[in-house]
C-alpha cells in the first residue's frame, strides 16, 4: 500500500517536471528572438508614415516582432520587383512562421506612390508585406534613420527614376538593427538569415 502511494508521488512529480520543462522550452521559442540577435549598428529610428491601407503608423507599431525594412518605389523595373518577389517566395516557404515577422516596403517616391498605388502594387506580392508612404519630409526622415540614399534622376521624356539603396535592414523586435540582406545575395543566404531571426531550425 505504501509502495503504491510512493509510486504515485513519483509519477506525479515526474509529470509536473515534464510540464515545467515543456513550458520553458515552449516559452523560450517565443522569447528567443531578442536574445539571439544583438544590435550591431545605430540604424533605424522613429518614423511617422502612412501604410497602404491609409492608416497613420509609427515605428512603435512594429515593435514586438522582428522587422525587415527596405526602400524602393513602384516605377522600378529591376531591383524592387526582384526584392519583393524574393521576399514573397521566402514568406511562402516560411508559411505561418512568417506571421512572426513584419515586412516594410517604404517608398522613396512619395510623389507617385500614394497609399492606393502601393496597395495595388503590393496586391501582386505576399499580403504580409506592408507598404509605407508619407509626406516628403516624413520619407526623408525615415531614409535618414535607416541610412538610405535616395535621389531623383530626371529622364529625357520629362519623367524621372530614382537611385536608391537596395539593401534590406533586419531589425529585432525592439527595433534595433541586427543584420542586413544585400541585393541579389543568394536565396539560401536570405533563408538562413530569416531562420536565424525567427529561431527556426534549418531543415
Amino acid at each position: 500500500m505504501r509502495k503504491i502511494r510512493q509510486n504515485a508521488v513519483w509519477i506525479g512529480a515526474t509529470l509536473v517536471a515534464l510540464i515545467l520543462v515543456g513550458a520553458v522550452l515552449f516559452g523560450s521559442n517565443y522569447l528567443r528572438d531578442d536574445r539571439a540577435l544583438p544590435k550591431v549598428a545605430e540604424i533605424g529610428g522613429p518614423f511617422s508614415l502612412v501604410d497602404h491601407h491609409g492608416k497613420s503608423v509609427t515605428d512603435r507599431d512594429y515593435l514586438g516582432k522582428p522587422t525587415l525594412v527596405f526602400f524602393g518605389f513602384t516605377h522600378c523595373p529591376n531591383v524592387c520587383p526582384t526584392t519583393l518577389f524574393e521576399i514573397t517566395n521566402q514568406l511562402k516557404e516560411l508559411g505561418p512562421d512568417a506571421d512572426r515577422l513584419n515586412v516594410l516596403f517604404i517608398t522613396v517616391d512619395p510623389e507617385r506612390d500614394t497609399p492606393q498605388q502601393l496597395a495595388l502594387y503590393l496586391s501582386s506580392f505576399d499580403p504580409r508585406i506592408t507598404g509605407l508612404t508619407g509626406g516628403p519630409e516624413n520619407i526623408l526622415a525615415a531614409e535618414k534613420a535607416y541610412h538610405v540614399y535616395a535621389k531623383k534622376v530626371p529622364l529625357e521624356d520629362g519623367g524621372y527614376t530614382m537611385d536608391h539603396t537596395a539593401t534590406i535592414a533586419v531589425m529585432n523586435s525592439k527595433g534595433q538593427y541586427v543584420d542586413a540582406m544585400h541585393y541579389q545575395a543568394p536565396s539560401t543566404a536570405m533563408r538562413a538569415k530569416l531562420h536565424r531571426l525567427l529561431n527556426l531550425k534549418d531543415s
Binding site: T74, H75, C76, P77, N78, V79, P81, T82, L84, F85, E86, T88, N89, K92, E93, G95, Q117, L120, Y121, L122, S123, S124, F125, Y149, V153, L155, E156, D157, G159, T161, M162, D163, H164, T165, A166, T167, H182, Y183, Q184, L200, S203
Partner: protein, 172 residues
Amino acid sequence: MYTNTACLHRFAMSAAILLTMSVVAVAQQFEVKSIVIEQPWIRATPAGAEVAGGYMTISNTGSEPDRLIGGVLPQAGHFAVHEMKMDGNVMHMREVEGGLEIKPGQKIELNPSSGYHMMFMGLREPLKQGDTLKGQLRFEKAGVVDIEYRVEAVGAQSPHQHGAEIPHQHNH
C-alpha cells in the same frame, strides 16, 4: 519483316518528333542585316506598375558599329535603354544617351542583374506571365526589325529561370 518495318516507322516518327522538339527549343532569334537578336523577354508586371524591364542578347555580325535607337511595344507609351549600376548597396539608373552602341563583332546581353536593360514606360496594361508580345526595334543602320517577347515571372532573372516561379509551400 512486318515488325522491322513497324520498328523503322516508329523510329522515323520518334526522330521526326525529336527534331520538331529541338527546333521549338532553339532560342528565339530575329535578324535584320548584321544585327541578331536572341531571346527577347519581358518581366511580368505587378498590378499598377507603369514600367517594365525588357531583356535580350544583341549581336552585331557586321563590320560597322550600329545603334539601337528606338522601337515600339504597343502595351507601352515608349521605351529607352537604361543602364543600371550597383555602387556598393546603392542602385543607380541612367538613360543611355544616343542609343545603345553595338560594335562590330560585339554581343551585348541585356539582363535584370546589372548593366543594360530596356525600360518600357507608360504601360497601358499589366504584362502577364506566359504571354508573347509583338514589338519592334529600330537600329540606326540595320533599320526596323519585328520581334516577339516572352513574358516571364515578375522576379525572373533569366528567360529560363523556372525557380523564380512562386514555389509550392514546403513543410519543414
